[in-house]
Symmetry: C2
């Protein structure tokens, strides 16, 4: 199935917003076995929209557009697509009732201009919008109109993510399964790893997975800051079994580095572990400046296991709040194994948490020395089993440094809980 | 000038990474008066690359590609573009010297496959890469080859952002100014505002700016979480004067809401203010979970003004670290004006900071009550002038809640410093 995606929006062309739709839709489609071959972004102008849709229908089995279905004068997609396909627009009674109901429930008067969203091209399948007003529209385009060969499908989706995402998952995916089924079954699995750089990971697993690749396994890597996803995908009746076997091999090879599957985040895993163990954590951060606490508290339910955090940027606070000793700072400095140790010990003692994580380091861009260059980090982990300090070196720009260091700290915590 | 952008990368088509190049390049070009009319993303395959470049050259005065210039077998752009243009590749001696120097400086042996990056198509202008190995390439394409009308420019840029960004700013922008000059002068100004929702902002300024719009001012809005940019742009010899006048009107209308220009972040402004005043701040966070501290410490040089932070998720820590009283928690609860007041007072007293910011609220998804629904926030600000507490209501998903609340806290701090 040849798929093209068209994102409309003048703010995209001015670089005012990031095109998150592109990633989200490509990812969702790929996970269902459909790969997008081309994505195009264009302005809201009528001419650009018509030209892009016409060209895409000249190549693809399926064309998906996002945006331009709203009630304002900028929203031209519905109208321009109907004109391109030579279909007239008529008011859909069910959609109009839903629009009126949407406003009634919110106790607001429906502005007249909203009625245009009940206009649909002849022959369209209507995808009701559960989280907004504009319905999605799916249109089958007759063979030969824009390309020789088979028919095409054209699906128009609304722009706002909280409308687009559920509409895609609940309505578009079933429609694709029915109208554009894959030739053969498809399965995929995303394994999330941390602690091993992409090149070493690839070296470690490409050999052992070679025989699965020979059997049709599609093996992909995606590196982000501090972590690498390994993506296993396969087509055919034995796809599920092939992936399960490859997964088993990977889990034997990397018993600790794989922290989860799908889109799970490292902080989700840590909060789940602590919740299951009924244990608590406190953090004492210097160079990460609150990022570890921020990541943990992004997880709903974190309050059951995360007691709190110290961000001790000033040395005086390391002393007064965490009990780091004058002599330690004088003899070894704030960025040292000893300080990290005392920070973790002091944080744990302050509230009786099961685990305390500490980080002290040099985020840069300034502050480095010959013996402790920018990027130097000491990471402490205190638990009932004592305190362990690890030295790391993360010579990156300031924000990458913070992200990588917070990842190492959360991963040290994850491994400690696993081992505990 | 009609511009098209082509981003190559199979990981884009699988939705594994976000296409940040698109936003960055579109934004940079727009700020220089060049608007991209179409952006296309395609896989790394030879056929897709050639087809996309051929089509773009059939329409545009300037085509920019990103990616595919590296040394691996996936990197096909240089080769496929040369073939498409009918140009042969030859080794550029200067580039080869730079490649060898790049490895010599890093005390690494240059792998043989890297030499391919010194291959350039006949007639190309070479854009040396200051931060990596693959040079950029600029090619003038003769009129009539892909479209009737004038010549086109084709510029190939490397994919890694830290190579792409300086190459674009330092080498591509001057090239554009020389080879594809704008018909008339262009000026633009981005004003960053916070504290006023987009619809109210538009209401407040569209009337007073009407006369400038009539004179050719292009007025745009871009809303992000907790803030709205107002973009002023104009063409023509009086563009600069028109924008300066419009800016003066906006600054009179919104004396406090405009916190900066360009890409400056609210946290940058706060750190700069404190640095200029030689003042310090400490934060006491509950529901924002460390995000305020994280944002402040993202700013290089923050350590001179940011003493530290408390993340007091557990009530016991609000008491032991900040001195919030038992009676206060019992009578008013942790999410209350009184608790926010005592948190700010206690944080400021703990270290003698000039300012202390406190936040306590209900991030959700659970924990709300009839009288204090999810989204309720109390925000305290302590200084030599006493403590002020503001109540806010941010009924959003957890991460948006944190972002908006941290923005309100930083903005309260900014306004207090201004007033102080």
């Amino acid at each position: 199935v040849n798929i093209e995606l068209i994102n409309t929006g003048s703010e995209l062309m001015l670089g005012r917003v990031l095109n998150t739709h592109q990633q989200w839709l490509c990812r969702q489609l790929a996970d269902h076995g459909y790969v997008v071959s081309r994505q195009v972004a264009i302005s809201d102008s009528a001419g650009d929209i018509q030209a892009a849709v016409r060209e895409a229908l000249g190549r693809a089995d399926l064309v998906i557009t996002t945006g331009g279905l709203g009630p304002t004068s900028d929203d031209l997609t519905r109208d321009r697509v109907a004109a391109l396909l030579g279909r007239s627009l008529h008011t859909d009674a069910d959609t109009l009732v839903r629009l009126e109901e949407f406003y009634r429930q919110r106790k607001r008067r429906m502005p007249d201009r909203v009625r245009v969203q009940a206009q649909v091209p002849t022959g369209a399948i209507i995808l009701p919008n559960q989280h907004g007003t504009a319905p999605g529209l799916a249109l089958e385009v007759e063979a030969g109109r824009f390309r020789s060969g088979g028919r095409s499908w054209l699906i128009l989706l609304p722009g706002p993510p909280r409308e687009l995402h559920p509409m895609f998952s609940n309505q578009v995916v079933p429609l694709l399964r029915e109208r554009l089924p894959l030739d053969q079954p498809y399965a995929c699995l995303n394994l999330r790893t941390t602690g091993i750089p992409e090149s070493r990971l690839e070296e470690a697993i490409s050999g052992p997975l070679e025989r699965f690749v020979a059997q049709g396994l599609d093996l992909g890597y995606c590196a982000r800051v501090g972590e690498v996803d390994v993506r296993l995908a396969a087509h055919g009746t034995s796809a599920g079994a092939l992936i399960a076997e490859a997964e088993a091999v990977l889990r034997r090879l990397l018993p600790e580095a794989i922290y989860g599957t799908g889109d799970v985040r490292l902080e989700d895993v840590v909060v789940r572990q602590l919740t299951e163990q009924k244990q608590t954590v406190i953090v004492a951060e210097s160079c990460t400046g609150g990022l570890i606490a921020h990541r943990l508290t992004n997880v709903p339910g974190a309050s059951a296991v995360f007691l709190g955090g110290f961000v001790t940027y000033a040395n005086a606070l390391k002393q007064s709040l965490l009990g780091v000793r004058d002599e330690t700072l004088a003899a070894h400095g704030a960025v040292s194994e000893e300080t990290a140790r005392e920070m973790a010990t002091g944080a744990r003692a302050s509230c009786g948490a099961d685990y305390a994580v500490s980080v002290t380091g040099i985020a840069g861009p300034s502050g480095g020395t010959e013996s402790k260059p920018v990027g130097t980090v000491f990471l402490g982990l205190a638990s009932v089993r004592g305190v362990e300090v690890t030295k790391c070196f993360n010579p990156f720009d300031r924000e990458t440094f913070k992200q990588v260091t917070s990842q190492q700290a959360l991963d040290a915590l994850r491994r400690a809980i696993l081992a505990g």
